[in-house]
Symmetry: C2
Subunit: 158 residues, 2 copies
DNA sequence: TTTAAACGTTAGTGACACTAACGAAGGTAG
DNA sequence: CTACCTTCGTTAGTGTCACTAACGTTTAAA
């Protein structure tokens, strides 16, 4: 007669910040597994999407739009440029900047990664009805929107 | 006439795994700030709650109930024991185990930390109605419950 | 009685958010 | 023009956290 598989106390289970941490871990693992199987990364997708949506941009712009720190952006762009998903060239109009441009190969890569990520989201949200998925997205959006550096912060990009 | 503060592409903003990651970071920061201001830690609270709810337990039991790895549990219990919030003594019935017991001081500490955490949750969920907060908690619970090691895994406690 | 498992513990890994500081370039004020 | 401050790309580094590996000890199972 073995002991029952110790339960987590209810008082602990019901704490939103803990639930968020837990689901975020699950979600990240789901996405990460799929992407790394194809030699890709979360951040690659974010950059490619941003370029596809808003056109060529500087590294600092990409940082602000994706939320990836500009110090981390360097490595991401190295990898994307090495694989020819992206071109990186100095901006003649402002010689501090690099102009990052999506290549045709990059666009195809994006479609592929997009499918992988959509798949991961589906698996993540599997136990929810379509209505619940929308509701969850809505609620989370409200939260991230609300908790956010008051305004377009003074200086220094993320 | 400056450029408008670069927006995140909609295609990126609407991805649940990204939203979860974002809110989890905010939530963790909110909780962490309050606790660290009192020299406490997330994990301290989890252990104290578990002891209060389910009584004395071994370190491995605490690990499984809280989700804290038993390798990390060691340091947590060192700190809690040093502050006399918890007693740690060898289990005479099974000399592999330590029995961890909540002290009266620990119980008072718990009440304090509980207030801090409740406060953080309130700030986190501030932009939501009470109904929405419940709904969010419900949805997240479904997700964590669903994505979870199939059954009481073979061996080796977290 | 041999084997396997659980326990507490130490050490270490990898991912990721985040900071600091740098030289180079550009913008602005005197 | 000069001085100053900001932005940009880049390098290096920090702290936290989830997670793994391995160990010696003790207990349970075969």
């Amino acid at each position: 007669m073995g002991t029952i598989p110790e339960p987590t106390p209810a008082r602990l289970r019901a704490i939103p910040s803990r639930l968020l941490a837990g689901t975020a871990i699950v979600a990240d693992r789901l996405v990460g597994e799929r992407l790394s199987a194809e030699g890709a990364h979360k951040w690659h997708f974010a950059v490619l999407v941003t370029l596809a949506e808003a056109g060529p941009a500087s590294q600092a712009e990409l940082s602000r739009r994706t939320g990836i720190y500009r110090s981390d952006m360097v490595a991401v762009l190295n990898e994307l440029a090495d694989a020819d998903y992206v071109r990186r060239e100095p901006d003649p109009a402002d010689r501090r900047r690099n102009v990052i441009t999506l290549t045709p190969v990059g666009r195809r890569r994006l479609e592929h990664l997009d499918a992988l990520i959509a798949d991961a989201q589906r698996e993540l949200l599997a136990p929810l009805t379509p209505g619940q998925r929308e509701e969850l997205t809505r609620l989370l959006t409200v939260l991230v929107e609300h908790h956010r550096p008051p305004h377009p912060r003074p200086h220094d990009a993320r």
